[in-house]
Symmetry: C2
Subunit: 369 residues, 2 copies
C-alpha cells in the first residue's frame, strides 16, 4: 500500500543490490519511518525476534528471505548442513509463529533438491519470492471477497459513508501487502466507495492507534482512533455499519482467537445487529480444535506492557509509568470470540458462515476423515 | 479510608485552624500525594474548576465548604448580597455538576435565615459539615447493603476469593468517604472476607489505573489492574464473580449512564451469567428520563485526551504523543447500559431491580403523580 504517496510492500529486495533485503522497522512506527537492510541470517533472525517485523504473513516472508540470506553467506562446501542449522536458528526466533516454521520447512524442502550451491542460492531466492507473492495474493483475494460486503452496505446506504470498526492491526503491516481485515477496506476506498474506519486503540500495546491508524493515514483512508471502550456506544447509536477484525487462530467450528477485547466488540455487534466479520488467510485455521474458548490457551504477557506506556516526546520514544508502581497487573494477549457471535469468515477462497458446515463449503478437503 | 495506614476523608477542616479547609490534589495521584489548603472562595472555586476535586459527592461537599470560606471573608455589612454572588461563582465552576448546584442552594437557604453575620458563619460551617457527613453516611449505607451480596457470594464459594470487577473510579476519592461501587468492597475487606478487585484501566483518562488502584493499594485491598479489553476474557473463564460500577445518571426505568465502556462489561456479564450491579446514591437518579440510550446526551470531550497520555518519568508527570499526530480521534465521555443488562441497583435505601417497578419499591414517593 502507499506511504507518502509511494507504493510499498513490507519486505522487498533492495532495488540496487539483490544481496540485500529491506524491511520497515515497525517498532518505530508511527513516530519514525525507518527502512532497515537485512544482509545475513543474523539480521533476519533479529528482525523477527526483536519484532522489527510482526504478523503471521510478514514473519513467514522474512523467514523465507532469511534462508536466502543464509544461503548467500554459508560455506559453499557444506551448504546443506549449514542451511539446516540456519533453519533451526530462524525457527527458534519466535517459536509460536506457525508461518515461520512453515516457511523454513518449505525452503529446506527446496534446498534438499539442489545439487550445487548456485542452484541452492537461486532456489531460495525464488522460493522466498513465491512465499511473499502468495501472501500478498492471498490478502488481495480476501479484499476481493470482503469488498462485496462493503459495496452492498454502501448501496443500501445510497452511497453514504460506510462506517467500519476494526480492532488491533490486521493491516498490510502484518502481511506483505493489503492485510486481512484492512484488505476489503483498501479495495473499497480505492474503488471510490466512501468508507470511514473506527480504529480501536487496542490496549495495552496500542497496535490500532500506532499501526492501523498510520497505515490508513498514509494510504489516505478516512479514519478516527477511539479508546477500546467506545465501540459499544457507537454501535448503540448506529455509527458502525460493519465490524471486521483479523484473527490469530480460528477453530474448525469457527471460534476466533484474536487480540484481547475482540470478544467485547462481537457482543456489542450482536446486541445492535451490526454484522461482525473475521478476515483470515486459510493458514490461520487450526483444523485440530473444535472448542475455542476452552481449548485455545491464552498467552499471558509481561505486566510491564500494562504498567508502563510508550510514547513520543522531545523527538524520541520513551516509556512512562501510568499507574501505581505497587499495584498488580495482568496482561492477557487475546480472547476467543465464539462462532455464534460471528456473522461470517472472509478468506481467500470466499466468505462462509462461522460454523463447521459453513467452513466445509469452502474447505471441504479439510474435513475428510 | 486509609492512606499509608492513616484514616482520611477527601475533605476536612484543618486540625489546627478552623478557617482552613483541606483537600487532596487528586490531579497528582497516584504519583504524588499532595494536600492542599483552601482558604477562601477563590481557592475553593479553583479546586472544583481545575479538577483538584472530582466526583459528584466531593464536588458538593467542596461547594458547601466554599460557601463557608466565602462567609469568612465577605464584607460583614453586605454579607447576604456578597454570598449570593459567591454562590453564583461556585455554581459556574462546573455547570453540569448537579450536586454542586444543590449544595450551594442549600447553603443559600440557610444564609437567608440568618440575622447576623456571626450566625451566618456558624450556619455555613454547620451546613457544610452536614452536607459532608450526609454524603459519607449515604456511601456507608450503600456499603452495608452491597456487603450482603458479596458476603453471600463468599459463602457460596466456601470462603474462597470473591473476584469483583469495577470500571472507572466510583471510589471514596469521588465522594467524601467509602465511595459508591467501592463501599461494599471496603466493607467486605474490613470484615475479613477474601476479596480481589479487577480494576479496569478506564481509557482514555485512566481513572481506574490511577485512582481506583491507588485507593485500593493504600487501603490494602488485593487488586489487579487490567486493560479495559480484558474483562470479557476473565468472565468467560469464571474469573469474575460480580461486577460493581458507579453511575453518572440513572433513569427512573433503571438505564445507567456511566463512564464509556461500562456497557461492554455489562454485555459480557450477561453473556457469562455474572451479576452486574450499579451502586449509586439516590441523588444520581434522574426522575425525568425514561429511555437512557435515546434521551441522555453523551458529552464529547477534548480529543487530546486520546491522542496524548499522561505518565510519570524522571520525577515528574509528563504528557506524550501515543499515535500519529495527523489521525482523527473521538472521545465520548460515557455510554448508557440498558436496564435489561443490570442485575440490580445498590442505593443507600437498599437494593432493587433496575426497573421502574423495582425502583418504585424503595423510592415510592418519586413516582406519585
Amino acid at each position: 500500500m502507499k506511504i507518502d504517496g509511494k507504493h510499498y510492500r513490507t519486505i522487498w529486495i533492495h532495488p540496487q543490490n539483490p544481496k540485500i533485503v529491506q524491511i520497515i522497522d515497525q517498532r518505530k512506527l508511527p513516530f519514525q519511518f525507518v527502512i532497515k537492510d537485512l544482509e545475513d541470517l543474523e539480521s533476519a533472525e533479529k528482525a523477527i525476534s526483536d519484532m522489527l517485523v510482526r504478523g503471521a504473513g510478514l514473519i513467514g516472508a522474512t523467514a523465507g528471505y532469511g534462508m536466502y540470506l543464509a544461503a548467500l553467506n554459508v560455506n559453499k562446501k557444506h551448504f546443506i548442513k549449514e542451511l539446516l542449522n540456519a533453519g533451526e536458528i530462524l525457527k527458534n526466533s519466535r517459536p509460536t509463529a506457525v508461518n515461520l516454521q512453515w516457511a523454513v520447512e518449505r525452503q529446506l524442502a527446496e534446498i534438499e533438491k539442489c545439487e550445487t550451491y548456485e542452484e541452492c542460492v537461486n532456489a531460495t531466492l525464488k522460493t522466498a519470492g513465491e512465499i511473499t507473492d502468495e501472501d500478498a495474493n492471498m490478502c488481495r483475494m480476501i479484499g476481493e471477497h470482503g469488498f462485496k460486503i462493503i459495496e452492498k452496505i454502501s448501496r443500501h446506504r445510497n452511497g453514504e459513508t460506510v462506517n467500519i470498526l476494526t480492532h488491533c492491526n490486521a493491516g498490510w503491516l502484518a502481511f506483505v501487502d493489503y492485510g486481512s481485515a484492512t484488505s476489503p477496506i483498501y479495495k473499497a476506498h480505492d474503488a471510490g466507495i466512501d468508507v470511514h474506519v473506527w480504529v480501536d486503540e487496542t490496549r495495552p500495546r496500542n497496535q490500532g492507534a500506532r499501526l492501523t491508524a498510520w497505515e490508513l493515514l498514509e494510504h489516505g483512508v478516512p479514519h478516527t482512533v477511539i479508546p477500546d471502550n467506545a465501540g459499544g456506544h457507537l454501535m448503540q447509536h448506529g455509527l458502525v455499519d460493519i465490524v471486521i477484525t483479523g484473527a490469530d487462530r480460528v477453530t474448525k467450528t469457527g471460534d476466533a482467537a484474536n487480540k484481547i477485547g475482540t470478544y467485547l466488540k462481537a457482543l456489542a455487534a450482536m446486541d445492535n445487529n451490526v454484522p461482525f466479520y473475521i478476515a483470515l488467510p486459510s493458514s490461520t485455521f487450526d483444523w485440530a480444535i473444535a472448542d475455542g474458548v476452552n481449548e485455545i490457551p491464552v498467552e499471558q504477557r509481561d505486566g510491564r506492557e500494562v504498567k508502563y506506556m510508550s510514547g513520543f516526546k522531545d523527538g524520541a520514544e520513551q516509556e512512562f509509568l501510568i499507574m501505581p508502581e505497587g499495584s498488580n497487573v495482568a496482561n492477557y494477549g487475546f480472547d476467543v470470540t465464539p462462532s455464534r457471535l460471528i456473522t461470517g469468515l472472509i478468506t481467500e477462497r470466499g466468505i462462509c458462515d462461522a460454523s463447521e458446515d459453513g467452513i466445509k463449503t469452502i474447505f471441504p478437503e479439510k474435513y475428510i476423515m
